[in-house]
């Protein structure tokens, strides 16, 4: 076996309150394709940020050895100078600039500050040939499809004399042909001595192209599998990714489930900018009264998009399909209509979509149902305080008073404020998108209790979560979602982390 090009030894990275990585080890050999697998939030991206200098030397513990030398990068420029280039999931291309301009951005072929465009374009043509992209280098990047843009990113990396190429979810947004082409290209680059690290959720792709697979779980290295030695299939990878006990605790809960109260049929949602791209394809699911239903899916599977399309079409350009709430077929084309019909949506993006951080607790709680507080011309501030105090008490929101600004609360208390806000709209169906993200364990337990009690009052609850143990502990039924398609429905009794992960990673299209 070739000698290691990269060794990361005992990497520990702490954020305030959270240890993102603890004693992670990674050994990558020259000219191999090394895949990193793990659940959302396992620490894959953090590890790559440590490697590329986004998290500078000194902000983490441990040692990085690259090509035999210990390296201490304090920014991306330094890691790029050493030959390590990272291509992020969200492409960093500037749409209005040409292919050539993008390739050489920040790395211009210049003498005395003046760019030699003839030479730049000439080099661009060579680089494009190496990635198999037949386009005029003067074409603006915005005219290229997402697959070709990905190739431009790789050409850009090649222009920097890359030795180690890191790709974060390179095929997440690509169709089959483009994915195939990209994977072939990686194989080709491997033949020319370029080492690649690939983060991916698509296990079939990993099993096909990777030589080694390192699995990370909860910020720790679990194992490194040698694919070249054989005996590694998708099941083996899944076992490594999820193999832990149900360590989360859940309040005792006996479901009391009634009839179907919410249903979508053949629900198709188009991308807001690309009117022909189906983000959700013919989804069917239902929620019964008093039931907690989970949606399991990896990042990019369309979970949030599905939820927001239900919530007054706040996502998507075109919708098809039927929505039935309490036996009535409804067309909810605005958020206001959805709220009035009795749907509430607690966003995963608490600070971006859930709260106005300039508000205090009481105005946040009343903000989605101000109409209930109108007295004559004014907002009944007296009643508003009583409502806020009521929720502060019953949900145990920890704050000295309801006039405290929500920006000063901890994540768990902010989330309780958001839950109060939606409970006050008196919804029939609550859609909770990552309800415990960024929340400490104690508050999580309380929020699970609140969710169960909402179900006990006969409401339907739809929970989206990246944490499978959370879904398994909380939900009565779970749907898996992959690439915008509902791939299976699991009853509480038959679902396991392995079976869910299998249907979350299945090739659905």
């Amino acid at each position: 076996m070739a000698q290691p090009i990269l060794e990361m030894r005992d990497i520990t990275k702490k954020f305030p309150g959270v240890t993102a990585l603890s004693d992670v080890n990674l050994v990558v050999h020259r000219s191999e394709i090394h895949a990193i697998c793990g659940e959302n939030g396992a620490g894959k991206s953090t590890l790559m940020k440590v490697l590329s200098g986004v998290h500078p030397h000194g902000s983490y513990e441990g040692e990085i050895v690259f090509e035999g030398n210990t390296v201490e990068f304090s920014n991306i420029r330094q890691s790029e100078a050493a030959g390590i280039v990272i291509i992020h999931q969200e492409l960093a291309l500037i749409p209005e600039l040409s292919i050539a301009e993008n390739i050489f951005l920040g790395n211009e072929t210049a003498s005395g500050g003046v760019i030699n465009w003839d030479e730049a374009n000439h080099r661009a043509i060579e680089l494009l040939a190496r990635v198999g992209l037949r386009e005029n280098p003067l074409t603006p990047v915005k005219h290229l499809g997402i697959g070709k843009q990905q190739l431009v990113e790789i050409a850009k990396a090649l222009s920097k004399e890359v030795k180690l190429l890191i790709l974060d979810e390179p095929t997440a947004a690509l169709n089959d042909d483009d994915s195939q082409h990209l994977l072939d290209l990686l194989k080709g680059l491997q033949g020319r001595g370029i080492t690649s690290i690939m983060i991916s959720h698509k296990l079939n792709e990993i099993a096909r192209v990777a030589d080694q697979i390192t699995i990370i779980r909860d910020g720790k290295t679990i194992e490194t599998l040698d694919v070249t030695a054989g005996d590694v299939d998708e099941d083996r990878i899944i076992r490594g990714m999820v193999g832990r006990d149900l360590e989360h605790r859940f309040p005792d809960h006996t479901p009391d489930i009634g009839g179907v109260m919410f249903e979508i049929r053949d629900w198709t949602v188009m991308h807001p900018l690309d009117h022909h791209r189906e983000v959700i394809r013919k989804a069917n699911l239902n929620v019964r009264a008093g039931e907690i239903v989970g949606i399991a899916g990896l990042m990019g599977a369309g979970r949030t998009e599905l939820a927001r399309s239900i919530f007054g079409r706040s996502y998507g350009s075109r919708n098809e399909g039927t929505l039935i709430l309490n036996g009535k077929e409804l067309t909810l084309s605005t958020v206001t209509a959805a709220i009035e019909a009795g749907i509430a949506y607690v966003s995963e993006d608490r600070k971006g979509l859930g709260l106005n951080l300039l508000d205090d607790i009481k105005t946040s709680i009343s903000s989605a149902a101000l109409g209930k507080l109108v007295k004559g011309l004014t907002v009944d501030e007296r009643k508003e305080v009583l409502v806020a105090e009521g929720y502060r008490k019953s949900l145990n929101i920890k704050a000295p008073s309801v006039t405290v600004g929500v920006s000063k609360l901890s994540g768990g208390n902010q989330q309780k404020v958001v839950l109060s806000k939606w409970m006050y709209t008196d919804p029939q169906l609550l859609i909770l998108d990552e309800p415990t993200r960024g929340i400490d364990v104690g508050a999580k337990f309380e929020i699970y209790g609140i969710i169960q009690e909402l179900a006990r009052t006969g409401r339907g609850v739809l929970v989206i979560s990246s944490e499978l143990p959370e879904l398994l502990g909380l939900c009565d039924r779970i749907y898996t979602l992959a690439e915008g398609v509902v791939t299976r429905e699991f009853d509480r009794s038959e679902a396991t982390q392995e079976s869910l992960m299998r249907y979350m990673t299945v090739d659905a299209r």
């Binding site: 605005t334 300039l358 903000s367 009583l386 145990n396 919804p427």
Partner: protein
């Protein structure tokens, strides 16, 4: 004293500009040998700045909603011109002309609102267009000339004063009566607010400071009215202005619409996801600005006793400056009507004081420019300072003060009606 200091520290944003205004007033009172606060000068101050203050009320609302309106000077000139033409060339009665012109202002604002809210063009562009458009139309309507000969009753809107009533006391009686009523109303409202805040266990000023604050406020209003009463009494524009301040403070603080403006300005995405009709809010905010621009145009025309093609030039900049000096945030979501008025007064007193001191108009411009920059810089610095030590350390203490006992029954009654809490165990506060 400690209490006073900590109160000031906590409310620098709120009190900083009031203190600055007081400092400027004292400074000019000294440098002008007392001319600044001579009754006739105070009277002029109100009359000369009324149109800017009216615009500042609308502008701060626009800015809170994260927009801007560059057209208000041109719109004011245009509406004033149309009004003058209606009254002089078409013999429309003055009150009908006023009503028509206010509607015209609102329609122009709705035009802006349509493009901003429903088409999605930035307000900067839409109103820059209108700034040129209505300046041009003003010239067209007036055929490039000044149109005078306006009815006497109309001119009173800009130059008139409240009538004299009662015995000759050497003071303007009606003005003093209004002053006393306003002070009484303020004291009543403040006490009621304080009682409510205490009942809900909110932080309130120590009683001594509260009384001191009311006393200072009362004395200032009384002295201001006394000065006006020594001259010609309360100007009619002053009455209009005070009514607008009261109405718009009420709208912004107490109504659903006001809440929606702050919500849209604070986080438009979160507002949308809370079911706020953000487009309608934007539309109404811009429409209201047009209405107030029209009113400012009428007031200006009446005060100048003629419609002038050059009227209202740079009004927009003064109104925007007033809003920012008064604490509005460029990013939206923050700002108050009273703050904008104080900001406008800072600019007005600066103008007036410098003129009295014989500072030339060019230097006045330069100094006002720097004042705007430093006022906002102070605000930014102050914000950074209070947010200092940020991150996790900035979190509020998690100590949970229970609401006061008298409220317990009411809260319990409310809790029974709160959706979602039915099944929660009765008492969870003890942890």
């Amino acid at each position: 004293m400690n209490g006073l200091l900590s109160m000031l520290r906590g409310n620098v944003r709120q009190y900083g500009m009031i203190i600055a205004l007081a400092a400027i007033v004292i400074l000019f009172q000294i440098t002008t040998d007392g001319v600044l606060l001579k009754p006739i000068n105070v009277s002029n101050l109100v009359v000369q700045n009324a149109q800017i203050l009216i615009l500042a009320i609308g502008m701060v609302i626009v800015i809170v909603a994260r927009h801007i309106d560059l057209s208000v000077g041109s719109v004011a000139a245009f509406v004033g011109a149309v009004c003058a033409i209606l009254m002089t060339k078409h013999d429309v009665p003055w009150f009908l002309a006023v009503v028509l012109c206010l509607v015209l202002g609102a329609v122009i604002g709705a035009w802006h609102g349509f493009w901003v809210a429903y088409v999605g063009i930035p307000a900067f562009i839409v109103t820059l267009s209108s700034m040129l458009l209505f300046r041009g139309l003003t010239l067209v309507v007036l055929e490039g000339a000044t149109v005078g000969g306006l009815p006497e009753d109309f001119k009173k809107i800009g130059n008139g004063f409240l009538p004299e009533v009662g015995p000759d006391t050497g003071l303007h009686n009606l003005t003093m009566i209004i002053a006393v009523l306003v002070i009484a109303a303020l004291v009543f409202l403040e006490f009621r607010k304080r009682a409510a805040a205490k009942k809900y266990n909110f932080e309130v000023l120590p009683f001594g400071l509260f009384v001191l604050k009311l006393a200072v406020l009362g004395v200032v209003i009384f002295y201001f009215s006394y000065l006006l009463a020594q001259a010609r009494g309360l100007p009619i524009v002053g009455l209009i202005l005070f009514a607008l301040i009261a109405i718009y403070t009420f709208i912004m603080n107490r109504t659903v619409f006001g809440r929606h403006v702050y919500a849209v300005g604070g986080n438009v995405e979160a507002a949308t996801m809370s079911g706020v009709n953000t487009k309608r809010t934007d539309f109404l905010v811009m429409t209201n600005m047009g209405l107030l621009a029209g009113l400012a145009g009428l007031v200006t025309t009446a005060r100048l006793t003629a419609a002038n093609p050059k009227a209202g030039v740079n009004f927009e900049l003064d109104a925007i400056a007033a809003s920012f000096i008064g604490g509005a945030a460029v990013t939206g979501g923050v700002g108050t009507v009273v703050g904008a008025i104080i900001g406008g007064l800072v600019m007005g007193v600066l103008n007036n004081g410098m003129s009295l001191n014989g500072v030339s108009i060019d230097w006045q411009q330069a100094i006002k420019g720097l004042v705007l920059l430093f006022a906002v810089a102070f605000d930014v610095w102050n914000k950074k300072r209070t947010a200092g030590g940020g991150g996790a350390g900035a979190e509020a203490s998690e100590s949970t003060a229970p609401p006061p006992d008298e409220l317990a029954d009411e809260i319990a009654a409310m809790e029974r009606d709160l959706p979602g809490t039915e099944a929660l165990p009765p008492d969870r506060t003890t942890t």
